[in-house]
């Protein structure tokens, strides 16, 4: 039984690492694309980040609860860190939501 659990855990770890590597490769490519498209359209990076933050907020936070008021940035930093753990937010989602909710 213990061996089976150990095998299961190792397999799960391998799968996670593979997915993590795949995700990282995908992200790197996308970041480059985003930079060029932003420059082409002339939309400020701030506006883009805010729009993306609102989208991420609606997709992630509003799935479970009503929209809270916007708190001061230092409070929001703690709340978003808590929610990153509890709701398994991605690093990017947490960053964009923090930016959106701190304005």
């Amino acid at each position: 039984m213990k061996i089976r659990i150990a095998i299961f855990l190792v397999l799960a770890l391998v799968l996670l690492l593979t997915l993590a590597a795949a995700a990282k490769t995908g992200d790197d490519g996308k970041d480059k694309d985003k930079d060029t498209s932003g420059a082409r359209t002339g939309v400020s990076q701030d506006d883009t980040a805010r729009l993306q933050g609102e989208q991420r907020f609606r997709s992630n936070c509003a799935r479970c609860h009503a929209a809270p008021p916007k708190f001061a940035p230092r409070m929001m930093g703690t709340i978003v860190r808590h929610m990153r753990v509890r709701a398994t937010l991605t690093d990017e989602d947490a960053r964009l939501i923090l930016r959106y909710m701190s304005h």
């Binding site: 855990l9 995908g26 809270p68 230092r74 753990v85 937010l89 989602d93």
Partner: protein, 354 residues
């Protein structure tokens, strides 16, 4: 006994001392405007319940202390206290208190893919326990019947995280944990292991996932479950569902819930309509003694609930619901009326808006 109580006293004193030190270090070391500060948050509630004709009044409070340490650490401690007033055998209302620690954990954000958690934490199984359980979040105050099939709390270590799975069209999230056995009457946990995986599609806003738990003590039952959530982009509707099956004595069941916010109706924007259907199938091989011990999980049951929530503000909500439970030989009406308030108190300088 005397030695144990002395040890417990010293441990409590040391714990408080460490907490004070941590708080002062955190507050002192965070002069930068962007640094997060410790906060005290949580919720209070007051609910009147009528279960099969029996009245209950229950005020409650669930404080949550969040202490960020540096850029990577977060200390979380959540407790709960409630007092329930119900008619005793002599016909007078009597109050009974209940309290406990929901979780007390430390999180380390090791990388963008992994967070390491240690301590007492909510078992990552399905979506209800970790995300919908706080009374200011849950659309209906009555918990689903299958909520207590897997162990609700664990004591040990956990790895968890979420990241885009190859593209922005799908996010993958996971949690894997190991828990030790703890027999303390307030902090009891089972020796168990398990985890959850989930895929979230931000475009159509659909989430699907699966959970597993293997208990490693007594009759070593395992529980398996799947969950689903969908929020259509064009309609203010949320659909959620969970299914759980246990190999032991606790049976299987499912619930489906819909929440519709009337945000498109001018005078009813703050109103939310909720409906939930659920079914529980008890293990058919249960003995009479086991049925008695399991209580609500000892018999087949169906339940339908309908409710409304009204948001006075985003943090103050009034709720009312009616449910009908169908159990062999004991059908019952379930009424709940009450209010919740979510509070957030900063424990340090808040800083200015960006």
């Amino acid at each position: 006994m005397l030695i144990f109580s002395l040890w417990a006293k010293k441990a409590t004193q040391m714990g408080l001392l460490c907490l004070v030190c941590l708080l002062s270090i955190t507050v002192q070391g965070q002069e930068d405007l962007g640094r997060p500060i410790p906060i005290l948050t949580g919720s209070t509630g007051y609910f009147t319940r009528v279960n099969g004709g029996a009245f209950q009044d229950a005020p409650s409070v669930s404080p949550l202390l969040l202490v960020p340490i540096g850029d990577k650490w977060l200390l979380e401690g959540k407790g709960n206290y409630s007092r329930t007033y119900a008619k005793g055998q002599e016909g007078y209302y009597e109050g009974t208190s209940s309290y406990g620690m929901t979780y007390g954990q430390i999180d380390y954000l090791a990388s963008r893919y992994v967070t390491i958690t240690g301590g007492r934490f909510t078992t990552p199984f399905g979506i209800y326990g970790e995300r919908l359980a706080p009374n200011w979040i849950r659309p209906l105050q009555i918990t689903p019947m299958i909520f207590s099939v897997p162990s609700g709390a664990s004591l040990g270590g956990m790895l968890r995280g979420g990241f885009p799975a190859g593209s922005e069209k799908v996010n993958f999230n996971y949690a894997a944990y190991f828990s030790a056995n703890n027999t303390h009457h307030l902090l009891a946990t089972d020796r168990s292991t398990g985890g959850r995986i989930g895929f979230f599609f931000p475009g159509p806003r659909v989430e699907i996932g699966a959970s597993f738990q293997q208990v490693l003590q007594l009759d070593r039952p395992h529980s398996a479950g799947v969950h689903f959530a969908w929020q259509p982009n064009r309609v203010p509707l949320t659909l959620r569902s969970e299914f759980v099956r246990q190999s032991g004595t606790k049976g299987s069941g499912y619930w489906i819930e819909s929440v519709y916010r009337l945000s498109q109706v001018p005078y009813l924007r703050r109103l939310e309509l909720v409906g939930r259907g659920q079914q529980f199938l008890a293990d058919p091989k249960l003995t009479y003694a086991q049925v008695k011990k399991l209580g609500a999980l000892g018999k087949d049951a169906q339940q339908a609930d309908a409710g409304i929530n009204y948001y006075f503000r985003s943090d103050v909500r009034a709720s009312a619901s009616y449910g009908r439970q169908f159990v062999l030989g004991r059908n019952a009406n379930l009424w709940v009326v009450g209010m919740t308030y979510r509070f957030v108190v900063p424990l340090g300088p808040r800083g200015n808006p960006l």
